[in-house]
């Protein structure tokens, strides 16, 4: 609690400014009120699987089953990845990010509706709810990354400094774009319930728009110089960055030489530049979403 003076009854009333009661809103206010944010995140974590027997386990079961399905269908039945070293790591690293984005976007969009009871009666920055959902999804990413790291180490992972930068960049990109989507759609969903369904449709496309079931090399091969347009999608950038952090360092020198001999471009040129540009774009998008959100927010409590 920092935005309101606390524990202090003897303050001079003249010192407190006369201002609109709903003044301190917005994303900055959310992070200032970190105690409240922490409570909401904790509550959300315990509430997400409340009443379920396996509880938090579902956070692993869901991506893991998806992983096995894709691995079985794409890798085993279709045999599409005979020449791709460590395909499961390629797949799983992408899946973690796709899952992170879909959870943030999907649950974030529903967050205002779900917290209706609070929204209509308590004054607080309403950005709190989408932000809390994003943090909860991030919290669930951690153990999945641990699983991924174990798999990587077993496959001979030799990460470098660039890998760490890529990892952080990828998570920031997804957090920013997921949060922008959640802000925009959570507010819009209050006005028209259609937006909730639009989100479901959109999230279906995500897994095909990123190099998860197919390698980036294939995009480069098919699209040629248009591959740069593929990388205009920040989600694709984030996934490629994540694979640069986890998958690429597991490829042995011999395998790398083999890929190069075949002419496969497994990573785009100037990957970090692409990453920073994508992050900048996502932050601009976030600012825009915040602006739209504050416009719509006025009418949210009366329309719930």
């Amino acid at each position: 609690m920092t935005d309101i003076a606390t524990d202090d009854l003897s303050r001079n009333p003249e010192d407190i400014p006369l201002k609109p009661p709903s003044a301190d809103n917005g994303l900055f206010a959310v992070f200032q009120r970190h105690y409240l944010l922490r409570l909401l995140v904790q509550r959300e974590i315990s509430a997400r699987y409340q009443g379920s027997f396996l509880g938090l386990m579902w956070s692993y079961i869901n991506p893991l089953t998806q992983f096995f399905i894709y691995w079985f269908v794409i890798g085993f039945l279709f045999q599409l990845h005979k020449d791709l070293p460590n395909f499961p790591i390629h797949l799983f690293s992408a899946l973690i990010l796709v899952h992170f984005f879909n959870e943030t976007f999907g649950a974030g969009t529903r967050s205002i509706m779900r917290n209706k009871a609070l929204v209509v009666k308590m004054a607080m920055p309403r950005e709190m709810f989408p932000v809390a959902t994003m943090l909860v999804s991030l919290y669930h990413v951690v153990p999945q990354v641990v699983v991924l790291v174990i798999a990587c180490v077993l496959s001979g992972w030799t990460p470098d400094a660039v890998a760490v930068v890529c990892l952080v960049l990828a998570l920031l990109i997804i957090a920013a774009i997921g949060l922008s989507g959640a802000l925009l759609f959570s507010a819009a969903n209050v006005f028209f319930r259609d937006f909730g369904n639009i989100v479901n449709v959109l999230t279906n496309f995500v897994r095909f728009g990123v190099p998860m079931m197919y390698p980036y090399a294939m995009v480069h091969d098919r699209f040629g110089r248009f591959a740069d347009y593929y990388l205009l999608n920040p989600l694709a950038d984030a996934v490629v960055l994540f694979q640069r952090a986890f998958w690429v360092p597991t490829i042995s020198d011999a395998e790398m030489a083999e890929l190069e001999a075949r002419g496969d471009v497994i990573m785009p040129d100037n990957l970090l530049t692409h990453g920073f540009v994508a992050l900048a774009f996502c932050l601009v998008l976030l600012a825009f979403s915040q602006w739209v959100f504050s416009r719509l927010e006025n009418k949210i409590p009366e329309r719930l």
């Binding site: 524990d7 009333p13 003249e14 201002k19 409240l36 409570l39 009871a117 609070l118 009666k121 028209f192």
Partner: protein, 257 residues
């Protein structure tokens, strides 16, 4: 004197009926039905409250009292005009605070206190007092969704009165409480009033308004009807004339203490 609440030409417009999906809007448009039907829940309301005043806000059902309180506490914003407040605001709107029905009373207590601006330290210090005031016993562990309306009001009121607020809003807090709790609430609100905090008290009970308030504001269909002495305000609303056909008075209805 310092101004605590300032309203200038505040107007709030509501829509009578909403269309929730694109399809509904299209169908309504095609049939030539108006897609929005708007009315003013509050219209051109202006008044000024000095710090330390205790205001009784009165008016018939639907006159816009709760809407006004929602704007004062910052949940809603006026569509027109300016509304300014000074300091922290706490209180209850329409008999209850915002509670999450699936969460237990304890969890809601903590969450509510944090939303009202209590720090973790402050809450730790006051937690036992709040629990004692709410006096809910083991019900505190049950989800708030299962609470009776009185129990919900008790919990909300207990949290709100323990916030060091400069402005306290009380909307029909006594309407659902039992007699001992109503007495406790009245006592607490008098304490708040006497400590120099600003109090806005909404009630349909003239006796308690007279006891609590130094000034009465009456809303009439969203407009300011009366602003002045409590006795005159109650008379303006014709709340002082006993119903001739029906001899049940306020006191007998249990609306008063």
């Amino acid at each position: 004197m310092t101004t605590s609440i300032l309203l200038e030409n505040v107007t709030k417009e509501f829509t009578l009926r909403y269309h929730r999906t694109f399809k509904e809007v299209t169908v309504a448009k095609a049939r030539g039905v108006k897609t929005s039907d708007r009315f003013n829940a509050l219209e051109d309301v202006s008044f000024k409250v000095e710090a330390g005043e205790s205001i009784g806000l009165m008016g018939l059902n639907g006159s816009g009292k709760s809407t006004l309180l929602k704007m004062i506490n910052g949940v809603m914003r006026p569509d027109n005009g300016t509304l300014l407040t000074r300091g922290r605001i706490a209180g209850l709107i329409a008999t209850g605070a915002g509670f999450h029905p699936q969460l237990s009373g304890e969890e809601n207590l903590v969450l509510n206190a944090a939303i009202l601006g209590m720090s973790e330290r402050e809450l730790k210090r006051k937690y036992d007092d709040i629990v004692a005031f709410a006096d809910l016993g083991r019900t505190l562990e049950a989800p708030v969704g299962h609470y009776s309306s009185g129990q919900r009001a008790r919990l909300g009121f207990a949290v709100a009165v323990h916030v060091d607020s400069d402005i306290f809003l009380a909307d029909e807090v006594l309407a659902v409480g039992d007699k001992p709790f109503r007495a406790k609430c009245m006592k607490k609100m008098m304490e708040i009033r006497d400590s120099g905090r600003t109090l806005v008290y909404v009630s349909h009970s003239p006796a308690s308004v007279e006891k609590m308030c130094s000034r009465v504001i009456v809303l009439e269909k969203g407009r300011l009807g009366f602003d002045g002495e409590p006795k005159a305000g109650i008379h303006y609303l014709e709340y002082d004339t006993p119903d001739s056909d029906n001899e049940i008075t306020d006191d007998e209805m249990g609306n008063d203490i």
